[in-house]
């Protein structure tokens, strides 16, 4: 009889411990995914921003002084001149965001590609963004309405960039974890705003 009681108690204790272990493993995996997703998203964002900011700072390099360097400026696209390979021939560089349909295969329904196009070469995807927005400011800090009309392109002194990157893959949440207006899926996200990016070549 005593043995039976020992076995039952051991089984109950073992089952409880097993549940604790499984729960701990679950929590660990969730935390790992969450933090890993956050880190990944931040790395992607920073790398994309360094590329974008670096090229915008070089707007006008190799462009004659009496010639404007911004060719077109809109909310989600910018065209500018920059002699990338320093061969005395200015290249036309264009950054623009695509549509969400182009990234339809990813579970995240908000992400879309960020393209970089040089001259007439094929556009290259340089990042994945969920928000990608430009604002154009005059020297006095006044925002120009977009798209900036041709006659006002020369008034652009600085560019404000707002960008958000989200993890294409989500973690599902239970109903009670989802707030009003939120998606069921939890996507790691990171946002960046550069409020005053001015090319030195604009001062000429």
């Amino acid at each position: 009889m005593q043995y039976i009681l020992d076995y039952v108690a051991a089984a109950i204790l073992g089952a409880a411990l097993l549940l604790i272990i499984l729960n701990a493993n679950d929590t660990s995996a969730e935390s790992h995914s969450l933090y890993n997703g956050d880190a990944l998203v931040q790395e992607i964002l920073v790398q994309t921003v360094f590329l974008l900011e670096g090229e915008l700072r070089n707007m006008g390099v190799g462009v004659p002084e009496n010639q404007g360097c911004i060719l077109r400026a809109d909310t989600s696209t910018i065209w500018f001149l920059y002699d990338i390979d320093r061969n005395a021939i200015p290249d036309t560089v264009r950054y623009y965001s695509g549509s969400v349909d182009e990234f339809a295969p990813t579970p995240n329904e908000l992400d879309r590609p960020l393209y970089r196009k040089v001259n007439s070469e094929k556009s290259l995807v340089v990042g994945s963004v969920t928000i990608f927005r430009f604002r154009y400011l005059t020297r006095l800090g006044q925002a120009l309405s977009t798209p900036v009309v041709a006659g006002q392109l020369s008034e652009i002194h600085s560019v404000e960039i707002t960008m958000e990157v989200q993890n294409p893959y989500a973690m599902s949440r239970s109903e009670k974890q989802v707030g009003a207006g939120e998606r069921n899926a939890l996507y790691s996200s990171s946002i960046w705003q550069q409020t005053r990016l001015a090319s030195q070549n604009n001062r000429r």
Binding site: D6, A10, L17, I21, A24, N25, S28, S31, H32, Y35, N36, A39, Q42, E43, V46, Q47, F50, L51, G54, E55, R57, N58, G60, V61, G62, E65, N66, R86, T138, R139, L140, G141, G151, Q152, S154, E155, H157, S199, Q200, N201, N202, R203, R204
Partner: protein, 419 residues
């Protein structure tokens, strides 16, 4: 038996918790590593820019300096920048700044390169408006300038004048743009604190040209410009001393180099067909309209009115109702102004097509609010042909820029690599 099971259980727990702990510490370590990498990349970039600015400061102290300097950050031997100023293939200075940052995982270096424009002879006609001294005259709402503007002095603004091209000043604006009543619109930007542009010490260059290959008269003269027929290139000049005609010649004559001047007052009027500069070692008077026969962009008609002191719109019968001047005006030590600008009845509009460069800003009228009381309203329009440096009136004064202007600023694009 139970004791062994407990031991197995404890060991199992230790393995599991150890695994979880290791996992979390790896992520924490990666986050910290990313932060360090980002900080090092940003620091490297900013150091390179700092080096470029330090190099610029050194070069602008002495534009003939060439060499290299390395500077370590105070208390941080693993962070430094080196700037080098050399002479480029084009003969102009070339500045390169390179940073060095020893980061946690790698050594980083960024580069900034600065190229400079040539110190070429510029003509004053590049400016639609230029002054040595603005005096206490304000740019106000309704003023619109097409073409570049420069002043060697403080520029006063009260209202919303519109500058269609770049505005530069060796001093600053009063008040600063966007502050107080300065609501000026700069369509092509502005720059303050630029190097002053020096006026020539005298008019000896054009005087010498007039004396050799041009026309130089003693005393006061009156110059009547005649357009000839409607055809281009047959304009001529009649010169009077008092009522006596003392000279007459074709502007495009092979024996005339384009410079006409006098040691006394020169009074001018008429129609210009050709290229000519008229100067006086005292003052120039505009007796009546001076217009180009052909005012299109394809025209080669161009006039310079150059004066040691003032260019004055005479209070003459021809100027009682409006006055039109097509040409480039240069007043070396005086002003462009209207005679008796502050008395009499309003005289209409002063239409200027060309460029105005004067030592001290002069007055052409007085106003009550925006209503003309005496003198003229102003309508100044820049002659876009003058923005091409090679197109200018013959022997028109020029200047050398005293510092090297930055023509190109390039920064390396460094994308951080995360672990």
């Amino acid at each position: 038996m139970a004791g062994k099971a407990a031991l197995v259980l404890v060991i199992g727990f230790m393995i599991l918790l150890g695994y979880v702990s290791r996992d979390l510490s790896v992520i924490a370590g990666r986050a910290q590593g990313n932060m360090s990498t980002y900080a090092a990349a940003t620091e490297s970039h900013n150091l390179a820019i700092t080096g470029a600015n330090a190099g610029l400061a050194r070069l602008y102290q002495d534009t003939s300096w060439r060499g290299s300097r390395t500077q370590e950050l105070s208390g941080a031997a693993d962070r430094s920048f080196t700037y080098t100023v050399s002479t480029g293939a084009n003969g102009r200075p070339f500045l390169r700044s390179v940073s060095l940052v020893r980061g946690p995982f790698e050594t980083l270096g960024d580069t900034v390169e600065v190229e400079f424009g040539a110190q070429t002879l510029q003509t004053f006609t590049l400016f639609a408006w230029m002054t040595n001294f603005e005096g206490n005259i304000f740019w106000i709402t309704g003023d619109t300038v097409w073409g570049r503007v420069h002043s060697n002095s403080l520029m006063h603004v009260n209202g919303q004048p519109v500058f269609m091209e770049k505005v530069t000043t060796a001093k600053s604006f009063d008040p600063k743009p966007g502050v107080g009543q300065n609501k000026a619109i700069f369509k092509n930007g502005y720059e303050t604190g630029v190097a002053p542009i020096k006026f020539p010490d005298d008019l000896s260059q054009i005087s010498a040209a007039a004396a050799s290959g041009g026309r130089l008269y003693a005393g006061d003269v009156t110059v009547e410009l005649k357009g000839g027929t409607a055809a281009s290139g047959d304009g001529y000049v009649e010169v009077y001393s008092g009522a006596t005609k003392i000279d007459s010649f074709e502007i495009n004559s092979a024996t005339f180099n384009g410079a006409l001047g006098a040691t006394g007052r020169v009074s001018v009027s008429g129609v210009v067909d050709g290229k000519i500069s008229i100067f006086s070692t005292t003052n120039v008077y505009v007796l009546d309209d001076i217009t180009y026969e052909n005012k299109t962009t394809a025209s080669d008609d161009v006039l310079g009115l150059i004066s040691e002191a003032d260019v004055t719109i005479a209070d003459s019968p021809g100027n009682k109702t409006n006055v039109n001047i097509d040409g480039s005006i240069f007043c070396r030590s005086g002003s462009l102004k209207a005679e008796n600008y502050n008395s009499g009845s309003p005289r209409g509009v002063f239409n200027m097509f060309g460029s105005i460069v004067q030592d001290t800003r002069g007055a052409v009228g007085t106003f009550s609010g925006s209503t003309l009381k005496t003198g003229y309203y102003k309508r100044y329009r820049y002659d876009e042909r003058l923005s091409e440096p090679s197109f200018r009136p013959p022997w028109y004064p020029g200047f050398y820029t005293t510092t090297f202007a930055i023509s190109c600023w390039w920064e390396s694009v460094h994308i951080p690599k995360f672990n």
